[in-house]
């Protein structure tokens, strides 16, 4: 099934990564075609496997604080910060639609 422009736009929005060009879209098409081979396998009655360790109990420990207090260390790696805050540009502004985005991308 060919991927519609709508789905492409949706994917770019979800992934926050762009296809960049027709080659990128072609790559996705090929990836889907490749993955379709899975349909050949008969999986009736087979449960999906999340982890090879599914038969074991997860390790749980007491809910006590054992480490932390390293805000200064962690902030060192951030580019924009104010006191103990990471600074982000204004939120709640939706990404421009695909065609508008192309023009803004061409600018950068």
């Amino acid at each position: 099934p060919k991927v519609t422009a709508e789905v492409l736009a949706h994917l770019e929005h979800l992934a926050l990564v762009d296809f960049r060009d027709a080659e990128g879209v072609e790559r996705l098409q090929k990836a889907i075609q490749f993955a379709d081979q899975l349909q050949e396998v008969n999986t009736d009655g087979v449960e999906p496997m999340d982890s090879v360790l599914e038969d074991r109990c997860l390790y749980l420990r007491e809910d006590n604080v054992t480490e932390g207090n390293c805000a200064k260390e962690l902030l060192k790696n951030a580019r924009e910060k104010v006191e103990e805050y990471f600074v982000a540009p204004p939120g709640n502004i939706p990404l421009p639609k695909l065609d508008e985005q192309q023009t803004s991308l061409q600018g950068s």
């Binding site: 991927v3 789905v7 949706h10 994917l11 770019e12 979800l14 992934a15 926050l16 990564v17 762009d18 296809f19 960049r20 990128g24 790559r27 996705l28 090929k30 990836a31 889907i32 490749f34 993955a35 081979q37 899975l38 349909q39 050949e40 396998v41 999986t43 087979v46 449960e47 999906p48 496997m49 999340d50 982890s51 090879v52 360790l53 074991r56 997860l58 390790y59 420990r61 390293c70 260390e73 962690l74 060192k76 790696n77 951030a78 580019r79 924009e80 990471f86 982000a88 540009p89 204004p90 939120g91 502004i93 939706p94 990404l95 421009p96 803004s104 950068s108």
Partner: protein
């Protein structure tokens, strides 16, 4: 003073997707260039606690995605064997310098840097990671031992994740005994990694096996994959005969779903990647774009600038397979196929087979110029076929360098063991290593230093 531990003073290299406190950790990506880790990965900490000396971080494919170590931002890794006398002797040459520039071969990947470091004597051991064969593949191409431990044996805390349900830290050394020593220092429960098993791990020394008559070696017929070179097929056959002649039981077995492991991996890997790469948004660490109009546009620009095509491609594919309309048919389907693949192994081991013997790669290392003619995904799909299924099932496996190819390059064979039976796996691997006497790499610069070291190259070699 007292030695800090069994690894005191031993030079070690670490693949650059392990966090190392105070030292840049890049994953060979623009996204993490300049990122100084605030902590040590558990495995790194364990090595340092034993007194190991960290020589450096090694190159890889960007975010460990690839099978050539050619797609990182620092450029491709060159296989040290490209500069060996053994390879140069066999290549039809016009002029020396012209050859070296166009003829050099890849290391395989994605832990190519680590394999090259061990292979070229710059360190005694190195850490790699193995998600689809990323430790065993370069080990085979570089003529070193590459051990993939059972999933859950060694902590992944601090290893920047690719596929959480398949990643393991890998060990690269020059001989099987060294791998056992490294394993002894690294294995064991880590409260910081909930996917490590809780049983106590006891480090072991490998016995010198002399009697293999009680062993049952399985030869899975599906590993006679399309594209397997005649040379490697012959070597595999010779190895099977070696065991047979020594009294072991060697039987043909079948792992019917092997063929689907690449497709299955393709879906599961891209899906997990889509999730794991979501953390890179420029806010807390790593590259941040100058774009400042909105949070989302900053994220998008940061990710476009930080990731290469391979990574972005996988993120997009992964997101596609995880869409509500596709989830059942792709992601869940792949998880079901994963169970079938894992069950294949369970059935075979339950039937009395102790160890499986297979080739590790389809051929010896190809020249870089040839490798880059196909794209990353195609290459990975081809090269991972012999190693990937092991990650699906979480089993331990090891590459043992076996012989030199006609082009003078290393070829290795793979042993696959039962879950958590590393001691048995390594014992058999050590026995095999002793039989084949893989030749030492003859690098011009190193030869000048010590003649005594090269004594054993004169003994008969396996091929």
């Amino acid at each position: 003073g007292q030695p800090l531990g069994v690894l005191d003073g031993i030079p070690i290299a670490v693949k650059d997707n392990f966090n190392t406190a105070g030292i840049e950790t890049t994953c060979a990506s623009n996204m993490l260039k300049g990122y100084i880790s605030p902590y040590n990965a558990t495995v790194v900490q364990k090595l340092l606690d034993q007194g190991a000396v960290l020589l450096g971080k090694t190159n890889l494919d960007e975010f460990a995605m690839g099978s050539g170590s050619t797609d990182g931002v620092f450029g491709p890794v060159r296989n040290p064997w490209s500069y060996s006398r053994q390879y140069k002797e066999k290549s039809v040459s016009k002029s020396r310098s012209e050859d070296e520039e166009s003829n050099w071969v890849i290391t395989g990947g994605s832990s190519g840097g680590s394999a090259a470091a061990v292979s070229s004597f710059t360190c005694f051991a190195a850490l790699g990671s193995d998600t689809g064969g990323s430790t065993r593949n370069p080990a085979a191409h570089c003529g070193v031992v590459g051990l993939k431990p059972t999933y859950g044996l060694i902590s992944r805390h601090g290893l920047i994740p690719l596929v959480n349900s398949m990643d393991v830290p890998g060990i690269l050394t020059r001989c099987v005994d060294d791998a056992a020593v490294m394993l002894g220092s690294l294995a064991g429960h880590d409260p910081k990694d909930s996917t490590t098993i809780q049983e106590n791990f006891k480090p072991f020394e490998l016995p010198d096996l002399t009697d293999v008559s009680k062993l049952s070696i399985g030869i899975p017929k599906e590993y006679h994959a399309p594209g397997l070179s005649g040379e490697i097929l012959a070597l595999w056959s010779k190895a099977a005969d070696l065991f047979k002649n020594a009294g072991a039981k060697v039987i043909d077995v079948s792992l019917p779903h092997t063929h689907y492991s690449i497709v299955c991996y393709h879906v599961l890997c891209t899906a997990e990647v889509a999730s794991n790469m979501a953390r890179f948004d420029g806010l807390e660490y790593g590259h941040r774009s100058d774009m400042n109009e909105s949070t989302e546009s900053m994220y998008a620009a940061t990710r476009r600038e930080g990731f290469n095509d391979v990574v972005r491609g996988r993120i997009l594919s992964g997101n596609y397979f995880l869409l509500k309309q596709n989830y059942e048919n792709y992601f869940i389907k792949a998880q079901k196929v994963r169970r079938l693949i894992a069950n294949d192994f369970v059935k075979v081991f339950r039937s009395g087979v102790d160890i499986l013997l297979t080739p590790t790669t389809l051929s010896d290392a190809v020249p870089y110029m040839e490798f880059i003619k196909e794209d990353n995904r195609t290459r990975s799909a081809q090269d991972d076929i012999l190693t990937q299924a092991v990650n699906m099932a979480g089993l331990p496996a090891i590459n043992v360098p076996t012989a030199l190819s006609e082009r003078g390059l290393p070829v290795g064979l793979q042993f696959i063991g039962r879950s958590f039976q590393e001691k048995q796996l390594l014992t058999v691997a050590k026995w095999f290593e002793k039989q084949v006497k893989f030749p030492m790499i003859q690098l011009e610069e190193v030869k000048r230093l010590d003649h005594g070291v090269f004594q054993h190259e004169k003994s008969a070699s396996f091929s």
